[in-house]
């Protein structure tokens, strides 16, 4: 475990609402650390629709998910947020008034005064294909991500999928696997052309196999896989021997650990009030798609509003007894100094 990181606010989620929280909190001198399960900022804007236009951001007639993320990062920059990517917050504990302790699956620890949950649809997690009985093999023979390549050395590896993850792992694992088979539903791949070419060379050289079809069943005993049943595109049914299966079907959103933090939930969303966007635990806020209240709309613009009001209450917790003077960025020299535009 690393040293505990101490800060004012921890923001869970680096999507648009998390990023704009950095700005709103920053104007009130609140320092932030931002944690996200993805490897980059943007949340759904980065993962689901980076190139697709959004038409309902006020004053931006049309903006792509990627462009919106870039702009929000630029806007947050004067406040020097610290980002922690590829990390999922697994535990959140209230130790006292304005005293929270968080841990991530990567072993990071945080101590902070307020927590902002801006986790959108929850954590992005690998999709688990509904192959009958697959659960029994998870962890021993079925892996949805590769944490240690060594664990697959000398094994008969079956990779399923046609995107970048499937192709990258095919090329990376082929040298150390005993045998490797890639299965995809069609002979076309949406992965980077370079990785596709490399895979085709490995197939041509006889170092691995490529089969066009879909996995329909698994064979094995006591959690150890011995083979997979594959239905070919031509309708033929074949068995592929394997003792490790890596399905890559993209990511889906799951509420994840948030459900275990003792917060009042309403249909898998975090219930908040509409003045402070605070959860049932004082000091823990929830903004954006993950919260619910009467009249809630899952719009980015609503999340921005929620961030601004949340920041006011966060200030009161962090600076008890201090009067908060409302200021405009247009006219306040103080705010302009913070933004570095004065």
């Amino acid at each position: 475990m690393s040293d505990v990181i101490t800060t004012d606010a921890v923001i869970i989620g680096a999507g648009p609402c998390g990023l704009f929280s950095v700005f709103e909190l920053g104007l009130l001198d609140i320092k932030c650390h931002v944690i996200d399960i993805l490897d980059r900022p943007g949340g759904q804007c980065a993962e689901l629709y980076p190139e697709k236009p959004i038409y309902d951001i006020p004053a931006l007639v049309s903006v792509s998910g990627a462009e919106l993320t870039t702009r929000l990062m630029e806007q947050a920059k004067p406040f020097h947020p610290q980002f922690h990517f590829n990390q999922m917050v697994t535990a959140l504990e209230k130790r006292g008034e304005n005293d929270f302790y968080l841990t991530t699956d990567g072993g990071l620890q945080f101590n902070c005064k307020v927590v902002v949950i801006a986790a959108g649809g929850g954590s992005f997690q690998p999709k688990k294909p509904p192959i009958p009985g697959i659960d029994a093999y998870e962890g021993q023979s079925v892996f949805y991500s590769v944490k240690k390549m060594e664990a697959l050395r000398g094994r008969d590896v079956l990779i399923v999928g046609g995107g970048d993850s499937a192709l990258d792992w095919t090329n990376n694992l082929q040298p150390l696997a005993k045998s490797l088979t890639l299965i995809h539903r069609r002979d076309e791949f949406r992965a980077a052309p370079d990785s596709v070419n490399k895979m085709r060379e490995l197939v041509a050289a006889g170092h691995m196999q490529l089969k066009i079809g879909q996995v329909t069943g698994l064979k094995g005993e006591a959690g150890v896989l011995s083979g997979a049943t594959v239905k070919g595109a031509d309708g033929s049914i074949i068995d592929v021997a394997c003792n490790a299966l890596l399905p890559f079907f993209g990511l889906t959103m799951k509420l994840g650990p948030v459900a275990n933090w003792g917060l009042n939930l309403n249909e898998n969303l975090v219930a908040v009030d509409t003045a402070k966007f605070e959860t049932s635990v004082p000091g823990i806020f929830a903004i954006g798609d993950i919260n619910t209240y009467p009249g809630k709309l899952k719009l980015i613009l609503s999340g921005f509003h929620e961030a601004a009001l949340m920041a006011q209450q966060a200030f009161r917790y962090i600076n008890p007894g201090e009067r908060l003077v409302f200021q405009y960025t247009t006219s306040s020299t103080n705010l302009q100094k913070k933004l570095g535009v004065e």
Binding site: Q44, Y49, G162, H184, R186, Q214, F249, G250, T252
Partner: protein, 106 residues
């Protein structure tokens, strides 16, 4: 209003009245059809609104578009009649359309 019939994995049928121009996915959400998750809200970016178009409707519904074909790589048990319901627009010509919903999207 064109009717869309969603056939559940257990054979139960849900009849939903669509509006021309809306998508089949949006119609499913409006009628709370179980099994249409539509994580991404219709951006053709998640493959969680996968349906099987009943044989007699396949010609009328038409072929997949290239983006949808790519996205179907992320669906499970893709068949010849697989479509993403966010890419099918409801129209009077599709009045009575029958689609099967997979037992589980993911």
């Amino acid at each position: 209003m064109p009717k869309i019939i969603f056939i559940q994995a257990d054979g139960k049928e849900i009849e939903a009245s669509g509006v021309a121009g809306m998508t089949v996915m949006e119609t499913a959400l409006k009628f709370q059809v179980p099994g249409i998750d539509a994580d991404c809200g219709g951006a053709c970016a998640c493959a969680t609104c996968h349906v099987y178009v009943e044989p007699e409707w396949r010609d009328k519904v038409g072929a997949r578009n290239p983006m949808e074909e790519d996205m179907l790589d992320f669906a499970f048990d893709v068949r010849d009649n697989s479509r993403l319901s966010c890419q099918i627009k409801v129209s009077d010509a599709l009045d009575g359309l029958r689609v099967k919903v997979p037992a589980k999207q993911f």
